[in-house]
């Protein structure tokens, strides 16, 4: 019996090539898209869960109350790890981690930069770091040791055995390779390719030991003992800061499950309120939605075709098939078609995944070797087949053989209503997607086009490395003389990306409690405004001609406002423990998140606390020749360092990465969803046209024009699209208002967005339907009338 069914299925598919193409193709595309999305979702959920001790690993967070709100951060004092490990029996181990920007490692003349972290030796016991060479428990016995990943080893040493070799850390300090570790998996939050020990950091930077309890810079991780109650432990360690650092006694510490941080890193008032999990949920919803659209297509087309199959069902019943057998046949048919789609879908995924990875900055792979994946995929496919085939199966099997064999069937008509509802569901989803995509794009461009308050074009930033810290002024002068740049300045870090802040700022007229207010802080030296192009509204920039400026600060407008200064210039403000004179007020330029209002900021002069360089390229020359000249000047000062820089405008654009990704993906998936829906509509329209052949013939004989017939055939679908739009628009209006409300600066949900959405849906619908409608309308009525 099964063989007979398969035979019939195959012949049916072959005989109705267009229908099969639409049905299998639509389902395959839907499956491929949802597989890719599910892969992404799975990858996000699996993040950081690969550590053997996952259930016992925690990240230390600190809740800082200030001005009625609680800020939650993962930067912790240096001393915390030691205190936790020593004083709390529930904690087995604790480790500090300092993730560095790319660090220069030199072997012979091989100078390369790698992402590097500084960790306590206990880190190796807590997290799953797999050693390929060397002994995990003794790798950090000597401070001057380094553990490198396999790829790092290959890049530095080639085929040579790296163990015991000496590398120059930051091109100066010799360290010995004591271990080679496997690469971290792609779903790891840690991204380092080399690690050195905390003891090593202390040996090259002795000052670090004297950091105070109030200095929140490093991350702390904790491994609890098995079977520890997290609530009890969190209650016990809550006051650890108050006991050791009475000045900040209101700051509270808490342990947060390490692998939860990746998706739940947003906190409001000390409580986790989500994070990227929202995007993951959105993608999960998209995946299921697109699969649903494809299933609906399948159901729609199958039931629409029921009239053609009705006779077959009748014959089968007459020769002895029971209803159950018929249901089995049609379910089997849709399951087999789904399996067929699966094969195509897997091919599509294999082809499309690399592009998706580029698009979404991911590193996803199909886990071919995982039996679990095959089980899941097969289950999903068979499930899809059963869901998609259930309606046609139940519907077709209910036919009375007498009626269908006598041609009395009006099967097509009776299926119209459920089919209309399915089309409405499809187009509701499509309208939602169109509307959301437009609004996401609108929001991104709204934020992007908001003035940032300084000039990003022709501005580059680089790290202050090697000889540049001491000889910056010479370097700057050389580069200006060579014509590469017109201005340059040292800063504490990138102005585009940095987000350092401080509190404990004091000023005259301060109200009690305001000393806890957070201020953004930037350290800079001379030529800041000239380099970055922000405006000095009052007073002046730091000047080399005035030695007193080495104890000066500038404020932004927001800071002036919050300090309630009428005459800001000349005011004394206590910042970083010393009294400073305000010499200038600058406009509110965007420094941190472009989504938030500019926060009060202090630009302080402090030589020796610099780490970044900003350079304004010479606009009279091309960017490439500016950079070529600049590289020559740079190599004169730093011959061993690679010449690396970032364009400020590009770096700024990367702040929109999540939103841009969301925008790109939703645009893609919207197009795909529309495409699949239109495939289904095309199929339905062709059946509708076929069913109404006689009606069209009669109308034509009676004198109906082609345009009249076209309107007549398209009308029913246009009505469905309008209904779908109304439902879809209300749903997305509700959700998009909520999404936009999360942003302090957000775009309006304007009328034109809705107009555009319905226009897109209508045009897509008309184009799809018209092909069939016009074909039916121009056909010769004689042939259609004779067929009755």
């Amino acid at each position: 019996m099964i063989l007979n069914h398969i035979k019939i299925i195959w012949r049916n598919l072959w005989k109705n090539k267009l229908y099969s193409f639409i049905n299998i193709g639509g389902l395959a595309i839907g499956m491929a898209v949802s597989f890719i999305l599910l892969l992404y979702v799975y990858n996000e959920f699996s993040f950081d869960k690969y550590h053997v001790n996952d259930a016992r690993l925690f990240k230390v967070l600190i809740n800082q109350p200030a001005a009625g709100e609680v800020y939650t951060g993962d930067a912790t004092p240096l001393q915390l790890a030691g205190v936790l490990q020593k004083e709390y029996p529930g904690i087995e181990k604790a480790a500090r981690v300092s993730e560095r920007t790319k660090t220069l490692l030199v072997y012979n003349h091989n100078t390369l930069k790698f992402p590097l972290s500084v960790v306590d030796a206990s880190f190796l016991d807590m997290f799953s770091i797999d050693f390929v060479k060397g002994n995990k428990h003794h790798a950090f016995d000597q401070p001057a040791s380094i553990i490198i990943s396999e790829s790092t080893a290959k890049a530095l040493f080639g085929a040579k055995d790296p163990m015991g070799q000496i590398i120059k850390y930051d091109n100066s300090v010799p360290v010995k390779v004591t271990g080679v570790m496997k690469e971290l998996p792609a779903n790891s939050s840690f991204k380092f390719k080399a690690i050195v020990s905390w003891a090593f950091l202390e040996s090259i930077q002795p000052g670090i030991k004297s950091y105070s309890w109030g200095n929140y810079t490093f991350n702390t991780y904790v491994l609890t003992k098995p079977g520890i109650n997290l609530y009890a432990l969190n209650a016990a360690i809550k006051g650890v800061i108050a006991r050791n650092d009475p000045g900040n006694k209101e700051n509270q510490m808490l342990l947060y499950p390490y692998s939860d941080w990746h998706l739940h890193s947003q906190f409001k008032n000390g409580v986790s309120v989500g994070g990227s999990i929202e995007y993951v949920r959105l993608f999960l919803f998209l995946a299921l939605g697109i699969l649903a659209i494809a299933c609906i297509n399948f159901m729609n087309l199958s039931t629409a075709r029921s009239e053609k199959r009705a006779r077959e069902v009748g014959v089968r019943k007459v020769v002895g098939a029971s209803r159950l057998v018929i249901i089995q046949q049609f379910l089997g048919e849709s399951v087999i078609m789904a399996l067929f789609s699966l094969v195509i879908a897997l091919i599509l995924v294999t082809v499309a995944l690399p592009y998706f990875n580029i698009l979404a900055h991911q590193n996803l792979e199909l886990p071919y070797r995982e039996p679990i994946m095959w089980a899941a995929v097969l289950l999903l496919t068979v499930g899809t087949g059963i869901v998609a085939g259930s309606y046609p199966a139940l519907f077709l099997s209910s036919f009375k053989p007498v009626r269908v064999l006598k041609g009395l069937t009006n099967a097509g008509k009776s299926t119209l209503r459920p089919r209309q509802i399915l089309v409405i569901i499809q187009f509701t989803f499509a309208s939602c997607l169109i509307l959301c995509s437009i609004l996401i794009y609108k929001q991104i461009s709204f934020i992007r086009d908001k003035p940032v308050g300084y000039n990003q074009t022709g501005l580059i930033e680089m790290e202050e490395e090697g000889a540049l810290e001491k000889s910056f002024e010479n370097f700057r002068q050389d580069a200006i003389n060579a014509g590469a740049i017109i201005e340059g300045a040292q800063t504490s870090g990138s102005l585009v990306n940095n987000g350092g802040n401080t509190w404990g700022v004091e000023w005259r007229g301060q109200i009690a409690g305001e000393e806890k207010l957070p201020f953004d802080q930037i350290v800079g030296t001379y030529h800041l405004s000239g380099t970055y192009g922000f405006k000095v509204l009052e007073g002046r920039d730091f000047s080399a001609a005035r030695p007193a400026d080495s104890a000066a600060i500038m404020l932004n407008e927001a800071a002036v406002k919050i300090m309630r200064f009428k005459e800001p210039i000349g005011q004394i403000v206590k910042w970083q423990g010393t009294n400073r004179t305000v010499v200038g007020v600058v406009n509110d330029f965007v420094w941190g998140s472009p989504y938030d209002p500019v926060k009060p900021a202090i630009i302080g002069f402090m030589k020796g606390w610099t780490g970044g360089i900003g350079l304004r390229l010479n606009p009279d020359k091309s960017i490439s020749s500016d950079l070529a000249i600049l590289q020559k000047v740079y190599k004169k000062y730093n011959p061993d360092y690679p010449f690396e820089y970032k364009f400020a405008d590009e770096a700024f654009a990367s702040k929109f990465q999540t939103e841009r990704l969301l925008g790109t993906l939703s645009a893609w998936f919207t197009s795909l969803a529309i495409f699949i829906s239109c495939l289904g509509l095309f199929g339905l329209a062709s059946f509708s046209a076929e069913q109404r052949r006689k009606e069209i013939g009669v109308r034509k004989v009676l004198g109906a024009s082609i345009s009249h017939l076209w309107f007549n055939l398209s009308k029913e679908f246009i009505v469905l699209v309008i209904i779908s739009f109304l439902i879809g628009a209300s749903i997305s209006f509700y959700y998009m208002s909520q999404w936009l409300a999360k942003y302090t600066y957000h775009t309006a949900i304007s009328l034109w967005v809705f107009v555009l959405t319905i226009a897109i849906s209508m045009v897509m619908c008309l184009v799809t339907v018209s092909f069939q409608a016009i074909k039916a309308a121009i056909s010769n009525p004689v042939s259609s009338l004779r067929s009755e």
Binding site: K7, V319, P401, L405, K406
Partner: protein, 225 residues
């Protein structure tokens, strides 16, 4: 073999109630070849469908092989039908996607005959109907007469006790029609009971007995000699 008493069947639409069978009583004995005739709308197809258990009567009694089947549910009727009754239609009703062999094989599949046995049983029937050489063709590739022979082959492959034929020659030219009637006569001579609905007096002459219907009841019976 068949005994129906006071059989009634109505068709209702929203506004009109049509009486298709009006207290019809008749009997068919084992081995008979009966033709049912009458003008369009006299209820002969309805009668055939009820006899074939494709439809159920609204009132009256239908005894098939000493079993009262008028109140059987669909599953019971289907079960009785597939073991006892074969159908031949005016429009053949072959499945286009199956070959000649597969069409004939279908009833055996539904009664659970094993694949090897099916070949053994289908081939002689195809041979008898003289369509063996067409066994791998699809219905569209055959002439009308050949298609009807396939349909008859399908009707007899399960060795039914009763064959119901609904205007079996209606779509055929006279030569092919005569061939089909010869085949039915042969089957009847080998013991199969046949009830045939027809418009054609010529075809009716092949039967033993003609039952004439008008407005849902018997108006006359002719015994053929």
């Amino acid at each position: 073999m068949i005994k129906i008493t006071d059989l009634e069947k109505f068709y209702r639409t929203e506004e009109v109630e049509t009486i298709a069978l009006n207290k019809l009583t008749m009997e068919v004995r084992k081995g008979e070849f009966v033709a049912i005739m009458g003008p369009s709308g006299c209820g002969k197809s309805t009668l055939l469908n009820i006899l074939g258990m494709l439809d159920d009567p609204d009132a009256g009694s239908y005894v098939f092989n000493d079993i009262e089947v008028a109140h059987f549910n669909e599953r019971k009727r289907a079960d009785l039908r597939k073991h006892n009754i074969g159908f031949v239609f005016q429009s053949f009703n072959l499945i286009d996607e199956l070959t000649v062999f597969e069409n004939v094989e279908l009833p055996l599949i539904y009664t659970g005959v094993a694949a090897a046995d099916r070949v053994k049983r289908v081939e002689p029937v195809l041979d008898k109907m003289q369509i063996m050489h067409r066994r791998n063709h699809y219905p569209q590739q055959l002439s009308g007469g050949q298609q009807q022979r396939v349909a008859i082959a399908r009707a007899v492959v399960n060795n039914p006790k009763l064959i119901l034929a609904d205007e079996p020659t209606g779509n055929l030219d006279s030569s092919n029609g005569n061939d089909v009637m010869e085949l039915l006569t042969d089957l009847n001579e080998q013991g199969t009971t046949i009830i045939m609905v027809t418009h054609s007096e010529h075809d009716a002459r092949y039967s033993h007995r003609i039952i004439r219907l008008l407005d849902g009841h018997t108006v006359m019976e002719n015994i053929m000699i």
